[in-house]
């Protein structure tokens, strides 16, 4: 359960540029997104992606998830059947200002990316005490 890649600085956008440059089809990972009182959880299925080929970054409130499959295929292999016809995943989401984008935690286990995006303290629900008298 080691953090995979730091959510990098907005000015490190090489990967974004390279992905837009290539005329390549992206697989959109199946995703679960849920929200509780403390933040938002994103789960994304990215089978075949190892953590060194995963890139999670935030650029101007846009969350970008990218990954490339690393699968060992023998030389000269021909496809007999293929449901999956691309080797890159990509998804992006617009974040809202109450989220703490510099404190996103990312974990990648068995091809499932889990992101936890906390809410800023002032946006978390807090109980207001009613004074007696």
């Amino acid at each position: 359960m080691t953090p995979t890649q730091e959510v990098t600085n907005p000015d490190k956008t090489e990967t974004v540029q390279s992905s837009t440059r290539e005329q390549e089809f992206l697989l959109r990972p199946a995703t679960d997104i849920s929200e509780d009182a403390h933040g938002i959880t994103v789960l994304a299925d990215m089978p075949g992606v190892s953590k060194d080929r995963l890139n999670v970054q935030v650029d101007q409130n846009q969350l970008l998830i990218e990954g490339t499959m690393a699968i060992d295929v023998p030389t000269g292999m021909e496809a007999l059947y293929a449901d999956v016809r691309a080797t890159r995943y990509g998804a992006s989401f617009q974040l809202s200002p109450e989220l703490e984008t510099d404190r996103i935690e990312a974990n990648l286990v068995d091809g499932v990316l889990a992101l936890r995006i906390p809410k800023r303290a002032e946006f978390r629900p807090h109980r207001i005490e009613v004074q007696a008298g």
Binding site: S34, E35, M46, P47, M77, A82, D83
Partner: protein, 148 residues
Amino acid sequence: MLQSLFSSFDSDPFGVAQRLEDEMAQLHSSWGWPAGIRSVRRGTFPPVNVGATPERVDVYLFAAGLDPKSIDLSIQQNVLTVSGNRQSPTNEEASYYRRERFDGDFRRVIALPDDVDPDRTVATYRDGVLRITVPRREAVRPRQITVN
């Protein structure tokens, strides 16, 4: 090399054509990939790729987040069956905006070429991909007959 498994159908310029054809096939549900008798609806979990060399057949199941012990794998003659279960635990305190990830029991049946040798099947699970390697029987090589 990776391209050979994923893109042999869509090397340009036919890639776009193939993809369009697939999309049209979804609209008309009659054309497209020559459907095997055990073929399933596109988008069925988990997606499968099958690749072959003269020596072996490799089956790749793209199934992230599985417990390898829960995968049930059997092969009879040349028919491979993979079944299992993926639990996607629900956080009761959260509200969900998207639930696209597969949850529950799955099963896929894949017909392999006739010359596979199922006794030497090897399966590994890594980064959410289950890879099953089935060797093929030695090809019957032409024998040289000497004339005395």
